[in-house]
């Protein structure tokens, strides 16, 4: 750390290097921090969370009971102890609340004045954050599993919607209508994701075990269909041709630079694909437990030197190194299945929501200040620790001697 600082001071290093090193260190030290709490508002499982890209201050969460909550993540109190307060809530009492489970929530990428939510009540709502009223409601024939707004789009404002219907709907925010349908899947579409690199590129994952990459300017068909065997026909059985997984594909995530695509499936596998060529990079992440029948929201870190993947795995969040597939750690804290997690790029924090109604904040531990005097280090540390919290003291009674 000091080396990085001096190198930075001397101008020997790219500023990015220090940043990367430090953020990597912070990601590696993620832990469930007693100092950071998130208000318990949800009375039911949390299906989706999203952190706004503009300020990184507000977090949206959608619950299985249709409730949508907005949290303020910024800590202005100056104390380490902070509880993320719920700023506003679309509660059950609201007239506009989703009737059934909210599956996806997303901020409008350029402004926190608007967000979009989709639900199993076959609607997708575009909300005005100020009034907490839907500005637009898109209705569909089937349950909506997932939707996504392109984070970089400047030439279009399309929302891709995956429903129980194999056809992918494209809704235009400008006109407020469904303008397009992408056909090609044979089963319900569980996840849709726009590329963060090319604004017209869309990836979709379906229960027919296929992942397709579309260019929305060319609606006749998909550009790519990801094949887990990379076209090696000898390995694939006839029906497994052009499949990304051997089960339902329910998770989809681009890396920050958009060069790679990650998919998860109910075959307990996670795969990393080259998004340009559609090639399976064959990174082995081992078994990634995944029993969800719905969309699984997972995320990738940004700005670290080896990037990390945070993927819900049963009741914990597994952290993998992106390109080596090495399991870095398991973040254990939820008491039930974890459904979603979101990485806060600015602070290297991770937020995860699960079926146990909790949203947990995983915060890097601050490095404890090194004590300069070596002489009386041991007793003072013990005392210091004890003074922090009396509960940390050991309580051996003397009669056991």
């Amino acid at each position: 750390m000091l080396g990085f600082l001096t190198a930075r001071q001397a101008g020997l290093d790219d500023p990015l290097r220090l940043r990367r090193a430090e953020s990597t260190r912070r990601v590696l030290s993620l832990t469930l921090n007693p100092d950071r709490d998130v208000d318990r508002v949800h009375g039911n499982g949390v299906n989706a969370i999203d952190i706004d890209a503009v300020e990184g201050r507000y977090m949206l969460s959608g619950g299985a009971d249709g409730v949508i909550v907005i949290y303020d993540l910024e800590n202005f109190s100056g104390k380490p102890q902070y509880t993320c307060k719920a700023v506003c809530t679309v509660g059950r009492s609201s007239r506009h609340v989703h009737k059934f489970s909210v599956e996806t929530v997303q901020w409008y990428p350029y402004d926190t004045g608007m967000f979009v939510s989709s639900s199993f009540d076959k609607t997708m709502k575009v909300w005005d954050t100020e009034t907490l009223k839907p500005a637009e409601v898109f209705e569909f024939e089937d349950n909506v599993y997932s939707h996504h707004l392109s984070p970089i789009a400047r030439k279009h404002s399309l929302i891709a919607v995956g429903t129980k219907n194999p056809k992918i709907q494209l809704c235009d925010l400008k006109s407020g209508s469904r303008i397009h349908v992408l056909q090609g899947h044979r089963a319900e579409v569980l996840a849709v994701r726009w590329s963060p690199r090319y604004e017209h590129i869309l990836a979709t994952a379906s229960a027919d075990s296929k992942v397709k990459v579309w260019d929305v300017r060319r609606a006749s068909g998909s550009v790519l269909t990801l094949d887990q065997h990379n076209g090696d026909k000898s390995k694939a059985s006839s029906e497994a041709v052009n499949t990304a997984h051997n089960g339902r594909v329910n998770g989809l995530c681009f890396t920050g630079d958009g060069l790679h695509l990650l998919t998860t499936g109910t075959d307990d596998r996670m795969r990393l694909w080259n998004s340009a060529t559609g090639e399976n990079t064959l990174v082995n992440y081992g078994k990634v437990c995944n029993e969800s029948r719905k969309r699984l929201q997972f995320t990738v870190s940004r700005g670290c030197s080896p990037e990390f993947v945070f993927v819900p795995c049963g009741s914990s969040v597994a952290v993998y190194a992106l390109h080596t597939g090495e399991l870095v750690t398991m973040l254990r804290g939820h008491y039930n299945n974890v459904d979603c997690c979101e990485f806060h790029t600015d602070y290297q924090e991770l937020y995860s929501g699960g079926k146990d109604c909790n949203i947990l904040a995983w915060v890097p531990i601050l490095r404890t200040a090194d004590v300069e005097e070596e002489s009386n280090s041991a007793p003072t540390r013990a005392v210091g620790q004890a003074s922090v919290n009396p509960a940390f003291q050991d309580a051996w009674s003397s009669d056991e001697d």
Binding site: L32, N33, P34, R40, G43, S315, R332, G333, H334, Y335, N336, K355, D356, C357, N358, L360, N389, A391, F392, Q393, D394, A395, W396, S397, E400, D401
Partner: protein, 792 residues
């Protein structure tokens, strides 16, 4: 950390968790704490061993492990860190947060573990919740997601509570219905049961009247001059006939009682003189009994006496003509060996003797002839009702009632009581049911005490109006008087007997004079096969058959008065002729018998014709050929004599593993223990060579280095364990590892599991499958030409 500490900790944790006790052993716990205090490594080790014990599929193990964890949790920060870090798993294993991982059996302990864990988590949350985030999260998870009510003593989740309530409600309605049904039933059958009870009561009182001797005596055929003595049991007139009896047995025993001695010296002659007056033995018995009764003044004896008298009446007739010398072995005599009995009775006797003097006079008047009388008396203890012709109807009613009570009323009442007690019905109903039960049981008990001696029930044969002495009164009232049966012949000529379905008995008189006891067994028949006998027995059962009529007649014939034709005479002669008939071989008729003692004209000659045709060849071509075999066959015959089947009386008697002896009765060779050889009481062979052979065989079963003694020697020399103590225990089943834990598998022994064991038995399944496939195959064979059968 030293390995010794580690080992010690492992041992302690295992001991604590497998103790099966609801509370931990404090000494061991203290030791654990003492070791753990030393370093965090020890805590790590304890933590891991506790967690591994927590994941055992046994609630008792888990409970103990949980208790260890609680003890350490409050002590050590490090342990808290470890445990809270893995709090999900901990909750899954103790509070059952995952419905797919229920707590293991036994259920009772699991419930206790659960409630204890929930309480503990609450207390932890109170004291450490702020410091340990995951603990707080876990607490909130329990509280909000699992909806555990921490105030609830039972510590149940909402769903559980609802389920229990629902079940309770359901049970209540079921119970209500059952109670209603039961009370309705009870109301309906109350009358019936009551009437049954009264009927039973009256039947019993009929069988055992309180004391009405006179009733019985009126029917007795005893001489009238004795009757008064029997009739009035007043002390003054009592003849003391048991005195001589007593004297008799006293002569045999050590004479220690002086009074008795004196008495005896005073009046032996007198008594003997008196008793020669011609009283029958039976009469004396009665008197003696009466005397006893007087002494004891109990009604039971009266009853017994009544019954006995009834029996005696029958006997008297047959024994009258017999010698007057009757063997007398009284119960008193039997009890002589026991001092107490002796003394008691002697006291009685001495009492008797006191009034004996007064009765001397009477005895002299009715003196008896013989000097030494010995009477055979069987006085069974308690009541004894014997079924006779008089009380037959009553007894049969009693039997019916008894059956009714036992099979119908009592089970029903039991059921009601059960229903009422289970459902907590009104006390009144329960009391009523209990009363009923009590009275029914009392009736049964009374019936049991009666010791009714049932005659073997045969199918009731037709009541012939033969005018028997006793049974004419009530039984025949139900039947109309009918004229004599058509074709009824009191005497059937000898040649017609078979035709009538009767045994062709040569001397009818002998059979008719048989005692009733011998009647049911049909007299041996000289030339009739077993089948015929059976047929005959059937006919006797059939009231429409002549044989039955005859039987009935025989039964009702007056007993023989002539001593000369007593039952013994014909029966002794008959067996000899029967014997002969049985011994003679029955051979099929043959040519040799036909020509017995004659020369056979053309024995062994066969007419051989060249052709079988009738008219293409003329008869002259016949050639006679002599056949040696045929000749021999027609002159002699072989009678194979297989000998007689002798049942095997010896046992194999080889010692078995369970300590008993083999009970197989093979003639020569036991399939398990080889040749049957003579063995002593402990199953060892008696003969030397057998012993040697046995020894050899035993040694062959094991290689000689496995010999336990040899191995023990080697072990002692080398100090290494070769497992000498396992040699003989091999295959005897695994010893239970932790004897203190309650057996989880044992609870699986339910009716369902037992049935499952039978039904899903491999061999059963195979058999069933075989049968089914066979049936299928048959169908296939039959209808294979029809396509829909041919296909499957």
């Amino acid at each position: 950390m030293e390995s010794s500490q580690r080992d010690r900790l492992s041992v302690l944790v295992e001991e604590l968790t497998t103790s099966g006790q609801p509370q931990l052993n404090q000494d061991k716990m203290k030791e654990i704490k003492k070791i753990c205090k030393v370093s965090n490594d020890c805590l790590d080790h304890v933590y891991h061993s506790v967690m591994s014990q927590l994941s055992q599929e046994h609630a008792e193990v888990r409970l103990s492990a949980f208790q260890i964890a609680t003890e350490l949790f409050t002590r050590s920060h490090h342990f808290r860190m470890l445990l809270v870090d893995n709090f999900q798993e901990f909750l899954e294993l103790t509070v059952e947060t995952d419905s797919e991982q229920p707590l293991p059996p036994p259920k009772q302990v699991a419930r206790k573990l659960r409630s204890l864990a929930i309480q503990t988590v609450q207390s932890w949350q109170a004291s450490y919740g702020t410091a340990y985030k995951k603990l707080a999260l876990g607490y909130h998870f329990l509280k909000q997601v699992k909806k555990v009510d921490f105030q609830d003593a039972e510590a149940r989740t909402v769903a559980e509570r609802r389920r229990i309530e629902e079940r309770q409600r359901r049970m209540e309605t079921i119970y209500k219905e059952r109670v209603e049904a039961a009370s309705r039933d009870m109301d309906e059958s109350y009358q019936e049961i009551q009437s049954t009870l009264t009927e039973m009561e009256s039947c019993m009182s009929l069988l055992l009247p309180e004391f009405n001797l006179t009733d019985n005596l009126t029917t007795s055929s005893s001489p009238s001059n004795i009757q008064p003595a029997d009739d009035c049991p007043s002390a003054g007139e009592q003849p003391c006939c048991s005195k001589d009896v007593r004297d008799d047995w006293r002569e045999g025993m050590i004479q220690e009682r002086e009074e008795g001695l004196e008495e005896k010296k005073r009046n032996p002659e007198e008594k003997r003189g008196k008793e020669e007056k011609g009283m029958t033995g039976e009469k004396r018995i009665h008197r003696e009994e009466i005397k006893e009764k007087e002494v004891k003044e109990s009604s039971e004896d009266e009853i017994r006496e009544d019954n006995e008298r009834r029996e005696e009446k029958g006997k008297k007739k047959t024994q009258k003509g017999e010698d007057k010398k009757v063997q007398m072995v009284t119960t008193q005599r039997e009890g002589m060996e026991e001092e107490e009995d002796c003394e008691e009775e002697e006291e009685e006797n001495s009492e008797e003797e006191e009034d004996a003097d007064e009765e001397d006079l009477f005895i002299r008047n009715s003196g008896l002839i013989s000097h030494s009388y010995s009477l055979d008396l069987n006085i069974s203890p308690g009541l004894q009702v014997k079924e006779t012709e008089d009380n037959e109807a009553v007894v049969s009613t009693v039997i019916d009632l008894h059956k009714l009570i036992k099979t119908k009323h009592l089970p029903a009442v039991h059921g009601w009581v059960q229903v009422f007690t289970k459902s907590g019905a009104e006390e009144q109903l329960l009391r009523r049911a209990l009363d009923l039960k009590q009275s029914l049981e009392a009736a049964l008990q009374k019936h049991k005490e009666l010791h009714i001696d049932y005659r073997t029930r045969i199918r009731k044969v037709m009541k012939a109006s033969s005018g028997g002495e006793e049974d004419s009164s009530d039984d025949s009232d139900d039947f109309d008087e009918v004229p004599e049966k058509e074709g009824y012949e009191p005497h059937i000529p000898e040649h017609l007997r078979a035709e009538y379905g009767l045994d062709p008995s040569p001397s009818t008189s002998a059979f008719t004079k048989n005692t009733p006891a011998k009647r049911p067994t049909a007299p041996p028949v000289s030339s009739s096969s077993a089948r015929r006998l059976k047929q005959l027995a059937d006919e006797v059962q059939d009231p429409t058959c002549a044989a039955a009529t005859l039987l009935r007649l025989r039964q009702n014939l007056p007993p023989p008065t002539d001593p000369s034709c007593s039952s013994s005479a014909p029966s002794s002669q008959q067996p000899s002729s029967d014997q002969k008939a049985a011994d003679a071989p029955v051979v099929p008729f043959g040519l040799d018998l036909y020509y017995w003692g004659q020369e056979q004209p053309n024995a062994g000659k066969i007419v051989k014709s060249a052709s079988q045709h009738q008219f293409w060849f003329h008869a002259e071509g016949d050639v006679e050929v002599e056949n040696k075999e045929l000749l021999a066959e027609s002159k002699s015959r072989y009678i194979s004599f297989p000998g007689r089947f002798i049942p095997v009386s010896h046992y194999c008697r080889a010692p078995l593993d369970n300590g008993s002896l083999c009970q197989r009765q093979d003639r020569l060779k036991c399939p398990f223990h080889g040749r049957v050889i003579p063995r002593d009481d402990e199953g060892r062979p008696i003969r030397q060579e057998d012993q040697l052979r046995e020894e050899r065989r035993k040694r062959e079963q094991q290689p000689d280095w496995r010999d336990a003694e040899l191995m023990r020697d080697i072990e002692a020399a080398t100090g290494e364990d070769l497992g000498s103590d396992r040699v003989h225990k091999k295959g005897k089943g695994k010893k239970k590892k932790f004897p203190n834990l309650s057996d989880v598998k044992q609870t699986a022994n339910t009716a369902r599991s037992r049935l499952e064991k039978k039904v899903f038995n491999k061999s059963t399944v195979r058999r069933v499958a075989q049968v089914m496939s066979k049936a299928d195959g048959r169908k296939h064979e039959k209808f294979s030409n029809q396509f829909n059968y041919a296909l499957n």
